[in-house]
């Protein structure tokens, strides 16, 4: 497999619209990197630049130390799996999988071995004589992956491969991709707008917004220590509650709460004394019992846990995720407490960490 380096990549279209700004990333051998972000954030554009389907306006792309910035797509030794599968409807699954190798005039016997091996990995052996229209969405996506596998590329590129699948198939195919990555130890660049996919699949996540990289880190880093309010609200479902607050004399105060902070939190927020900050509380950081009160508006039972939506104080809307089956009704008052809090600078939206302002 391979190491990939994206150095200061910019994408500027002919109409001067810039889609990607100064993208830097070192992908290690065998790493699965997920580019995640909302629609239009530049993640697919970045992937297409790596694949050679879009010109790179500025910056360098290195594969195993070799500059491939200007190399045509066919010479990059990368295989791409698309959202819409891009299978040939008139060909059988076997023919779809062997097509790229046949075009390269490889030995048919070698092609046969590769196709059978890929079909075995993806559990498609029984489907090889069928046409794509006879397969389910998940199977078609596996065929698309098989077509990539037979080429034995240095890097696999996945462009929202699960977006066309229903929830159940998505979960199963996600597991397939994870197993595939473990089995092949492949270097993978994976684009999705679904943060669940990002959290479950990635070795590292690149979170993007408006063409800018917001944070690069492991799923836990992005979940536990988001760099800014964008990452904090984008990663995690339901999103993090963002509460306006003022730090004053060791306490954090806002609409519906007045909390004493720990010594560590006080030290961290010292430069913001008597200033407004944003307090981030994930729904799962809210537990039943305590001094705060939540006035319930709606209650969603999800089986293992319950999402309770409501207000603290006059206008602070929050969502809590309780680890139990609860049946709160509209207007119920639930005592709560926060098990963990994050703080953000309202001017820059950046996280407030130990290092101070």
């Amino acid at each position: 497999m391979a190491e990939l380096q994206l150095q200061h990549l910019d994408k500027i279209y002919d109409n001067n619209v810039q889609a990607v700004y100064d993208f830097n990333l070192d992908v290690k051998d065998g790493e699965l990197i997920v580019l995640v972000g909302p629609s239009g954030c530049g993640k697919s554009t970045t992937l297409r630049m790596v694949a050679g389907l879009e010109d790179i306006s500025r910056g360098n792309l290195l594969l195993d130390g070799k500059d491939i910035t200007q190399a045509p797509a066919k010479d990059r030794d990368m295989a791409m799996v698309f959202q819409n599968y891009a299978l040939y409807g008139h060909m059988t699954i076997y023919e779809n999988m062997d097509f790229s190798l046949t075009l390269r005039k490889e030995n048919p016997n070698v092609i046969h071995k590769k196709v059978l091996a890929a079909a075995e990995i993806l559990d498609l052996t029984a489907q090889l004589n069928k046409k794509p229209s006879q397969l389910s969405g998940g199977q078609r996506q596996r065929v698309a992956m098989g077509r990539a596998i037979v080429r034995n590329p240095k890097v696999f590129l996945f462009d929202e491969p699960l977006s066309n699948l229903d929830a159940k198939l998505r979960s199963a195919t996600r597991r397939d991709i994870l197993l595939l990555h473990k089995r092949l130890n492949a270097t993978i660049l994976y684009v999705t707008h679904d943060q669940t996919e990002a959290l479950t699949l990635a070795n590292r996540i690149v979170c993007m917004s408006m063409g800018h990289v917001q944070q690069i880190g492991t799923p836990l880093e992005l979940y536990d220590s988001p760099n800014n309010t964008f990452v904090a609200t984008f990663i995690g479902l339901p999103p993090m509650n963002m509460l306006k607050a003022v730090f004053e004399d060791g306490r954090i105060k806002g609409d519906g709460f007045d909390l004493e902070l720990t010594a560590e939190e006080r030290a961290m927020l010292a430069p913001w004394n008597r200033e407004e900050v944003i307090m981030g509380v994930r729904p799962e950081y809210i537990a039943e019992g305590g001094d705060l009160t939540l006035r319930v508006s709606t209650n969603e039972n999800l089986g293992m846990n319950t999402l309770v939506h409501g207000k603290m104080g006059e206008n602070t809307r929050i969502t809590a995720k309780f680890r139990s089956w609860a049946n709160y009704k509209n207007g119920d008052i639930v005592p709560i407490h926060f098990t963990r809090k994050l703080f953000f600078d309202p001017k820059t939206t950046n996280a407030i960490r130990k290092e101070g302002k």
Partner: protein, 155 residues
Amino acid sequence: MSEDRAIQLDRMRFTKNTTSSRLALLAIVFDVLFFISLYKSDVDTYYYTILIGASIIYNLVFLLATFLCSEGVKNYQVSYSWVMMALGVGQIVRIFIIPMNAHQAVVNNAVVMGDAQFIRMVIYLVISAVCLFAGAIINLNKSRALSAHLASLQG
């Protein structure tokens, strides 16, 4: 059996018999060349007109049957090999119907079919027949090999 041969046999489980199929299509091409040449003949006697009418109908049947055979042998179906052989025999027989009768025949003081046209038509029909025979034999061999291979896999 060598490994290469074994893989070749196994590939047939998933690949089509394009050789036989293409030979059948080639037979159609040469049949078309044949009847394009044939209908150039300036024949206006009752005898030749009815023969040519029958030939046109046969051509339609031949085109349809050969096309069906081309699709059938693509999937290693043995029965289509026999049909292709029969069609091949038919192409040879056709040499002795119109071309032989028309060759150097004189109608209204005119030669119906000269040497050049006759030879060209014979060549077209012979090539068409050879394609059909070859396609049929290749399909027979491949089908038998594939059947044996599938039986060995099941065994």
